[in-house]
Subunit: 470 residues, 2 copies
C-alpha cells in the first residue's frame, strides 16, 4: 500500500479523495456516484448514529420505517417539492418481470409518503404532536459525486413531525436544529454555526430552513444538517388535518430535519492534516491502537482487555509481517487518537510509549496507570480538537464592510456581511466570488446598514455568513 | 377503534391480518406488497436488531454498507443466482432525467456486489477470513404479499464472509446458524429447530443451506433465518481469490446468512392468542403498562420513573378520555406482558393491581416491591412463553411411519418422517398434502428405512421434518 497522501496545501481535493480511500473508509460503487462504506467508515457512522438516535428518542420521537418506493404521483402533489427533486430521481419502471402501470421513484426523501400516512393516523388534536424519525437510505442522482459529501445514495435520519400550529412546529424545528448543533460540537468536535437559510437556499417545499454550517480546513463551508418548517404546505397537499378541541377541522403544521453520512466528510475535512485523518475520540472506531514490537503481542492483548474494561475502544495491531514504522504510519493516516508502543524493554520496566496523533512528542507511561489515565487523555484530545477547530473557524471568519474585504475573506474562509437579501444580488456575488449565503446566524447581534455588494439597505436585521461551499 | 380480532380457531389468517393492523405494528404501503412499519413494530425490530448485532460483532464480524443499486450484469454472472432472483427484481431504467445505459436492479440480496468488492479487498491468506455484515433494505417483487412474512421490501441483516477453505467456511455457516437459533430461543422465545434444507429448498447459488424453523400456532412452519455455504460458486463468478502461504493462487469459499423483519411475524404467530399479541419481555417495546384510574396519574408517572431506573421499559397510559376497561383491552391486544392498575384506593394502601397477559388472575402488590419484583416477574414470563411454545411444538410434531399418519400430522403440525430424498417424491407429497420438507434436523438421531410415501430407501440417514409452511 502506498500510504502517503497529497498535502492539503497543495491540492485539498486530491488530499480528500486519496485519504478516504487509503484510510479504508470508502470505496467506489459500480453505479454512478454510489459508495461502499467500508467497516472503518461504517463504524464511525454507527457511533454518530447512536449518539443522535439517543437524543432523538430522549426528546420524545419514535423511529418507524416507510417504503423505499414511492408512486411518482405522490411527489407531484407538492409543486415546489417535485420541481426541486425531479432532476435527481431514480425511477423503477419494471418489476416482477413486467412494466409497472405507474412508475415508482426511489425515495429522495420521504415527506410525501410520510405525509400520506400521517393523514391516515391523525384525526384528533389528541394525536398531536406526532413525532417520527426514520433511519434510511435515499437516492438522488448525482452529477458531480464526491465520497460522503455528494453521493447518489446516502444514509441519513429524517425526522418528520406534525403539530397543531405554527408555534409548536417552529419549537420542534429549533429543537431538532439544537440536537444537530450539540452532536456536531460535542461528539464530532465541529464548532458549527446555527442559522437560517436565505429564501434562495430553502428546501423544496419549506417555509423556513435552518442549518448548521461547519468550516472545513480549506475555508469552505459544509452544511452539516438542516431542519425545515414546512408550514401547512405538505399538510395541504396530503390532507394532514385534525379536529381541534373546539370541534373545528384544521390543517397541521409539519417539520422535517435530516443529518446524513455527509457528516463523515465533515469530520475528515474539519480535523484531518497532511498525515491523514484525525478522529475525535467519541467517533473513533479505535480510540487507542497498541503496536507490539517484537514478541510482546500476548502482553499487548492483556493490556487491551484491561483497557476495554475501562471503556476504551482499543485495537492491537499485531501483524508480524509489517514493520513497526509502517504500522505507526498507517494508524496515523487512519486517525487513531492515541498510539501505544510496547517493546520488550518497555515490558521489563512495566511501561508503554504513548504518542498522541497531533504531537511528535512521545512519553513513557506506567502500564498500570493506563486504564485510569487513558479516558482522561482521550477527553483532553476531544477538547483539543474542538478548541483547535474553533480557533481555525474564528481566524477565518472576517467581519467585512467593503466589497474588497468581502472578496478577500471568502477566498480563505467566511465573510460576515450585511446584505440586501435580493436573489439577483446573491447571484452577482456568486458569479464574482463563488461564495453563497451560508446562513443568517441565530446568535448574530442586531445590525443594519447597506449591502456589501450593491449598497441597498440591508435585510434580516443582522449580518449574513457568506462562503464558498461544498 | 374496533378492537376485537377474529379468533385464531375461526380464521388464523384473518386473525393475523387484523391483528398486525389493530396492534399498530404495520400499515400497507402504496406500492404493491410494501409495508409501513409503525413505531410499535419498529421498536420490536430495533430490540431484536440490538441483540443480534451484538452477537454478530462479538463473533468478529464488522458492519459495512454496500450500494442499493446493482448493475443487472452482476446478477448474471452466477447462473443459478440470476435464475432464482430474476422474476422478483425491481429495475431502475431511468435516472437523473435520462434512460440508463445499463439498467440497475434494486438489490434483492447483496452477494454479487459484495463479491465484487471482496475480490478487490482480498489478496493474501492474511486477509482471510473476511467477516462482513450489512443491515439493509432489500426488494423482491411479491405476488402474494403478507405483512412481515412476504413483503416487496423488507429489512434484514445479511452476513457475507470469505474463507480460505471449505472447513473454515462451513464453521462460519454453522456459527451464524447458531446465533440465529440462540436469538430466536433466548430473545424471541421461539423454540426453533435447526437443520439443513433438502437440495430442492436451497438458496439460489448455494451448495448447502441451513435453516431455523419455527412452528406457528396454526401448526405451520415459518423459516426464521437461513445460513448458506456457497462453496466457490460466487468466488468463481467474481474472482474472489487469494495467494496462499505456499504462494499458490486459490479461490475463496464464501458464506451468506440472513435474518429479516419476518421474525416479527414469527413472534406474533408463535405467542399470540384470541385477545391479540403476546410479546416476549425481551422484545416488548413496553414490558409494563401502568393504567392510572381516576386522578392517580402523577403517582403513576413517579412509579414509572422508579421502574425505568430498575431497567424496565414502562409506559403510562394516562389518556383521560378513555375508560380503564378500554385501555386494559387495548394493551392486551398489543401484547404488553404486565399491566399495573393504580386507583385511589390502591394508592392509599400503597399497592397496585398486577395482571399478567396470559392469566385472568389479578394480585395486589406493594408499590415499593415493584422495582425489584418486576424484573423477576418479566423473566418468569419470558420463560413461560418459551416453555409454552416448546410444549405446543412438541405436541404437534409426530413421528410417523405410515402415509396416513403423515397426512394427519401435517394437517395440524409437523411430521417427522423418513424420506427417499427424490425431488419428484417431494412434489407428490406437496401436491397431496401441501407439506414440504422443512429441514433435516441437526439434532435428529441416526435412522434409516423406507420412504414414508414411496417405499424407496430413505436418504439423509435421519428423519426429515415435513410441514405446511409460510
Ligand atoms: Zn445587495
Ligand atoms: Zn419417496
Amino acid at each position: 500500500m502506498n500510504r502517503g497522501v497529497t498535502p492539503q496545501s497543495e491540492d485539498f481535493s486530491a488530499w480528500y479523495n486519496e485519504l478516504v480511500a487509503k484510510a479504508q473508509l470508502v470505496d467506489r460503487g459500480p453505479a454512478k456516484g454510489t459508495m461502499v462504506i467500508r467497516p472503518y467508515g461504517y463504524r464511525l457512522w454507527e457511533l454518530l448514529q447512536a449518539e443522535l438516535d439517543r437524543r432523538i428518542k430522549d426528546t420524545g420521537h419514535e423511529n418507524a420505517y416507510f417504503p423505499l418506493l414511492i408512486p411518482e404521483s405522490y411527489l407531484q402533489r407538492e409543486a415546489e417539492h417535485v420541481e426541486g427533486f425531479a432532476p435527481e430521481l431514480a425511477v423503477v419502471t419494471h418489476a416482477g418481470g413486467k412494466e409497472l402501470e405507474e412508475p415508482l421513484v426511489v425515495r429522495p426523501t420521504s415527506e410525501t409518503i410520510i405525509g400520506e400516512m400521517m393523514a391516515k393516523w391523525i384525526s384528533s388534536h389528541r394525536d398531536l404532536p406526532l413525532l417520527l424519525n426514520q433511519w434510511a437510505n435515499v437516492v438522488r442522482w448525482e452529477m458531480r459525486p464526491r465520497m460522503f459529501l455528494r453521493t447518489t445514495e446516502f444514509l441519513w435520519q429524517e425526522g418528520h413531525t406534525a403539530h397543531a400550529d405554527e408555534a409548536d412546529a417552529m419549537r420542534e424545528t429549533m429543537l431538532a436544529l439544537g440536537l444537530y448543533e450539540e452532536v456536531a460540537r460535542d461528539i464530532a468536535a465541529i464548532p458549527v454555526v446555527a442559522g437560517e437559510k436565505t429564501p434562495g437556499e430553502r428546501f423544496a417545499g419549506a417555509v423556513r430552513t435552518y442549518t448548521i454550517e461547519g468550516m472545513m480546513r480549506d475555508g469552505k463551508a459544509l452544511q452539516c444538517g438542516t431542519s425545515h418548517y414546512m408550514g401547512a404546505n405538505f399538510a395541504r397537499a396530503f390532507d394532514i388535518g385534525y379536529t381541534a378541541a373546539s370541534g373545528q377541522r384544521q390543517l397541521c403544521h409539519t417539520t422535517s430535519w435530516g443529518m446524513t453520512t455527509r457528516m463523515i466528510g465533515a469530520v475528515i475535512m474539519t480535523h484531518g492534516d497532511d498525515k491523514g485523518l484525525v478522529l475525535p475520540p467519541r467517533l473513533a472506531p479505535y480510540q487507542v491502537v497498541i503496536v507490539p514490537i517484537r514478541d510482546t503481542a500476548p502482553a499487548c492483548h492483556e493490556l487491551a482487555v484491561r483497557l476495554r474494561a475501562a471503556g476504551v475502544r482499543v485495537h492491537v495491531d499485531d501483524r508480524p509481517q509489517l514493520s513497526p514504522g509502517f504500522r505507526f504510519n498507517e494508524w496515523e493516516l487512519r486517525g487513531v487518537p492515541i498510539r501505544l508502543e510496547v517493546g520488550p524493554r518497555d515490558l521489563e520496566s512495566g511501561t508503554a510509549v504513548l504518542a498522541r496523533r497531533l504531537s511528535d512528542a512521545k512519553e513513557s507511561v506506567p502500564l498500570d496507570s493506563l486504564p485510569s489515565a487513558l479516558p482522561v487523555i482521550l477527553e483532553e484530545f476531544q477538547e483539543l480538537l474542538l478548541r483547535r477547530a474553533t480557533g481555525f473557524r474564528d481566524e477565518h471568519t472576517i467581519t467585512v464592510g467593503t466589497w474588497e474585504a468581502f472578496a478577500a475573506a471568502v477566498s480563505t474562509g467566511w465573510a460576515l456581511a450585511l446584505h440586501c437579501g435580493r436573489p439577483s444580488c446573491e447571484d452577482v456575488i456568486k458569479t464574482e466570488t463563488a461564495a453563497t449565503p451560508r446562513c443568517i446566524p441565530l446568535a448574530g447581534p442586531e445590525e443594519s446598514g447597506t449591502c456589501v455588494r450593491c449598497d441597498q439597505p440591508s435585510a434580516y436585521g443582522k449580518r449574513v455568513i457568506f462562503g464558498r461551499a461544498y
